[in-house]
Symmetry: C2
Subunit: 383 residues, 2 copies
């Protein structure tokens, strides 16, 4: 349990090389790390009821509960537009709203403001933007973002940052990183109530800027530190290189979180670099597109070669989808646009990510992360 | 258990006026009647995984299992086109295909051939038609329909009938009813394997034709008798009148099934007339359109008056939706086109129908069906 005066607890339980086994304590239970956080954009992990999400690991009695999701991510940008923070607060906060009693982390809205909205003006004070839905004017600043996240009642809020696209000059990224740094201090000053607050390191693919940002953000009294601005268009190698060089610069006594990354392979790279937390829309979005993760690599379920395939999607997977229906049935549902296709696929892909992280945690505990990673990666390439 | 030589068992356990409490025994378990059968068009009850469907009543520990679905309906027309009977048979039948271990009833394809497909030619032999998907040519006849249903492995198959639209002259309906009668005899002659076979009474809204058809079909060795050709455009009063006058003409020692009907009120009318089985797309289709059944009448969840409504959809409902989330959350999901809206709504509407029938069965057992029905109908009108 978290003591009343603390917003967040973090214990480092074991290490294996740079990989870390840890435990975060929140007001809504513990989070075993390394952890993958399913994305619940509009207070809903797309395709699943909250009940399904909670019982992912208990829908089959033979399966342990260790792959149950302990934390999800909500998007501040989306929720501030629909249904709005006033309504969520009035309804008792995001947990009550979506009937979720475990931890919630929200992003700051920064990423979506810079990627989805029509930007009206970026000023020192904050960002004026137009909603991507109806163009209506809105404003986000460090103070406003932290206020919204706090009023939604999330367990972990994120500092408001500028998230520059890939391809900017070093000079432009340097200006951006300095703004993010000033916004980080203002975010921290605005922290109130019970939500923990994480700072965000930016700096694009420029190692000296990442280093500077990591030092600055780490020097502040954040409850955890995130690496932002990855998976924004840069080459995969640059992403992995930046993640690999930035993670070790972060303090070891606080959780480290890489935002918006990535593939199963990326997650293993991140863990190897000492990252504790990940989120990504990939498992849920791919599920809706029929792109499914298996222990032998990704498959496109619409492929005609699965039409009469009686085998489970992934023979070594324990999710409800793999334990109850065949590839042939999943293909039938997918090619006929049945809603259940999205549900079955989402159950599997989310389970795949959660179960991968469970195995990662086990391997760190038994000091065998390196061999687990090698074995996983070689299987993924074999189909 | 059903003995090896029997295709179907039926016991009449109690009556209350014309209302009947019964039990059908199939190769896949018992069916307590009166029963509502959710429609699983393409071997999927739209919006739900089979696992969810099976555990509708067990997803909350406080709830009894008596509202669990014991039988679903599959559409022969849809399944013969996608994925086709050859594939379903090769994959072990519809039960294995969709991982459903309880009873399945299939329709004969007749209704969809006459309502969805492009008809090429109706002959004494059968119907040539074009698929509504790609126009490809197909053929259905009594023999072919029964063969497909048998090869899919359903527990209850339906005779192939002609289902005329509302508005035909008496002379045209008379011709049609005579064709359906000849097709019924051929369907029966084609019966083989373990699937039970029900005959279908037609006759439009013409009481003398209904009477003639009921006598003819009832005189044949069907395992149960259905009333078809309702809810095809006729006024509600004609539908209820035809159902009410036809049901008592059917033999009391076999199950009576009214096809494609209807609203909760219609189901109560049917039970009052002595009907045992119902199916309808209404609960699932309405769910996807945000039209939700409650004990106080239907509501459109998109309505702005629900935006901040913290109460459950139906305060006296025990489904997972009503026990876990608010009207405000359901409206939020619906207006934002979240997949979970369709899942939550479908869980509720299907549960509403199943639970209504559970209460109907209880009321017949306690000889209080009349007062239950009056009380239900007066509540439905009160909001």
């Amino acid at each position: 349990m978290l003591s009343a005066e603390k917003r967040l607890g973090f214990e480092l339980l074991a290490t294996d090389g740079s990989a870390r086994l840890g435990r975060i304590t929140t007001r809504h239970g513990v989070i075993d790390t390394p952890v993958f956080m399913p994305v619940g954009t509009l207070a809903s992990v797309k395709g699943l009821t909250t009940y399904q999400l909670k019982s992912l690991s208990t829908q089959h009695s033979a399966v342990s509960t260790e792959s149950a999701p302990q934390v999800i991510l909500n998007n501040t940008y989306h929720l501030m537009l629909r249904p709005g923070v006033d309504l969520i607060e009035r309804l008792g906060g995001v947990h009550k709203f979506m009937s979720w009693d475990r931890a919630v982390l929200s992003d700051s809205g920064g990423f979506q403001v810079f990627s989805l909205a029509a930007i009206r003006k970026i000023r020192e004070e904050g960002v004026e933007f137009g909603s991507h839905i109806d163009g209506s004017p809105h404003f986000l600043s460090p103070e406003r973002s932290v206020e919204i996240q706090t009023r939604m009642g999330v367990d972990i809020a994120m500092a408001f940052d500028e998230c520059p696209p890939y391809g900017l000059s070093r000079a432009d990224v340097e200006k951006s990183v300095a703004l993010t740094d000033r916004w980080a201090r203002r975010s921290l000053a605005a922290r109130s109530g019970g939500s923990a607050l994480f700072g965000i390191v930016q700096g694009g693919v420029y190692s000296d800027l990442r280093k500077w940002s990591a030092q600055e953000i780490s020097s502040l009294d954040f409850d955890g530190i995130a690496i932002g601005g990855l998976s924004v268009g840069e080459p995969k190698d640059s992403m992995l290189e930046t993640m690999g060089l930035t993670a070790p610069l972060l303090p070891s006594d606080r959780p480290r979180y890489v935002m918006g990354v990535g593939t199963p392979e990326d997650l293993l790279e991140g863990v190897a670099a000492g990252v504790d937390m990940f989120d990504c829309v990939m498992p849920t979005r791919n599920a809706r597109n029929g792109s499914l993760f298996t222990s032998r690599g990704k498959i496109a379920i619409k492929n005609a070669r699965f039409a009469a395939d009686e085998s489970p999607l992934d023979p070594i997977c324990s999710c409800v989808t793999c334990r109850t229906v065949s590839r042939a049935y999943l293909r039938h549902l997918y090619v006929n646009d049945e809603i259940a296709a999205m549900v079955y696929n989402t159950i599997h892909n989310v389970w795949f990510y959660l179960d991968l992280m469970r195995k990662v945690r086990q391997s760190i505990a038994s000091k065998s992360f390196g061999s687990f990673r090698d074995s996983f990666l070689s299987r993924m390439e074999s189909e």
